[in-house]
Symmetry: C2
Subunit: 209 residues, 2 copies
């Protein structure tokens, strides 16, 4: 079906929905986690190892693995840090600023994959350790959007928007990156510091300001 036709159908469907349900974007709170390369997975868990799926995540194909690692920084340690699968080309560790204080690293706030000049850390698994030279970031908050949602919110991939959070401890988050992809499920991704600052929990609804 042509994009223009899809958009027209989406508009017609949305015109008949109550306004509240249209505008809500569910929050997805990311606890500290690691995306791991095959090479590093084998270094930590042994040759030929593969991840065991524990729980599917909202984004299609992504899952929380049963496996966890320990992060060892210059000032402290974080144990039981969840691996998110599937394996990736490059290992990337996403922590909150608060986690950074515990570990003794000050990662930059970055979009996923932008790892230049990010700090490294020691990652320890049951079969070995990896001295990662770089790859620790604070993930910049962003919204995953399927194309139909981008149409109704009138935004495009790469846009920066302001997200409003309701409640006594609410407020707004500026410069939130919009990522549009046919396979995405609508979700506002923030880290634990951001969620705790405004009392957001998984599935709570936010809106575009």
């Amino acid at each position: 079906m042509e994009q223009a036709v899809v958009e027209q159908i989406v508009r017609q469907v949305l015109a008949n929905l109550p306004n509240q349900s249209i505008m809500g974007i569910p929050a997805g709170v990311s606890n500290r986690h690691i995306h791991i390369s095959s090479e590093h997975m084998e270094a930590l868990f042994g040759r030929g190892y593969s991840l065991t799926k524990d729980k599917e995540l909202k984004q299609v194909g992504e899952f929380a693995a049963k496996e966890t690692v320990t992060l060892v920084g210059p000032k402290g340690v974080l144990a039981k840090v969840r691996i998110l699968g599937p394996v990736r080309k490059i290992t990337q560790i996403e922590i909150a600023r608060t986690d950074g204080f515990i570990l003794g690293v000050v990662p930059p706030v970055r979009d996923s994959g932008q790892l230049e000049d990010s700090p490294g850390i020691v990652v320890v698994g049951p079969k070995g350790a990896v001295n990662l030279p770089q790859g620790v970031i604070c993930a910049a908050r962003h919204i995953h959007m399927p194309e139909a949602d981008a149409v109704r919110f009138k935004v495009a991939d790469g846009d920066r928007v302001t997200v409003a959070v309701p409640g006594m401890r609410g407020g707004t988050f500026a410069n939130v990156l919009v990522r549009v992809h046919p396979n995405f499920r609508l979700e506002f991704h923030i880290d634990t510091d951001e969620a705790n600052a405004v009392e957001l929990k998984n599935g709570d609804l936010v809106t575009l300001a």
Copy 2:
């Protein structure tokens, strides 16, 4: 001097200042801490003990003590939690939501002193322990304002305002309590979760939205 005269002079002075410098409110980031009663201090540090000043805080008369305590919750422990002096009538522990997850307590977001139905915790010092039945809160963000600042910001004690934080990770905090007192120094008090969520550091300037 009469209040009306003071206000008039303040207005005249401010009219001649550049706008930027007028509107900035310095942030004060509160790490987890405890305000302690004499009774509890003696239980933890010994009979007749008094606090040793380590560093004066921005608010007049307040200080960080050299003494720290350990908080023991149902799920975890936080060591080296700073005592803020002077001693108070009632012990009050202020932690961030993130700290609560470590300890295994879910304190309510409250203005200082509002401790009804807040969770308790075990507090341990070098000479003993106290099983505090209640008193753990997440301090609601607030602004300390001397009267002259209240005049120029056109706000009154008890008002709720929106605070704007600049920067790529900026945004706004809604429902921020304004506290006006002659002895206060201008300061926007937030906890570490809130500061980390928007990359605010001690002394960074915010504005009223």
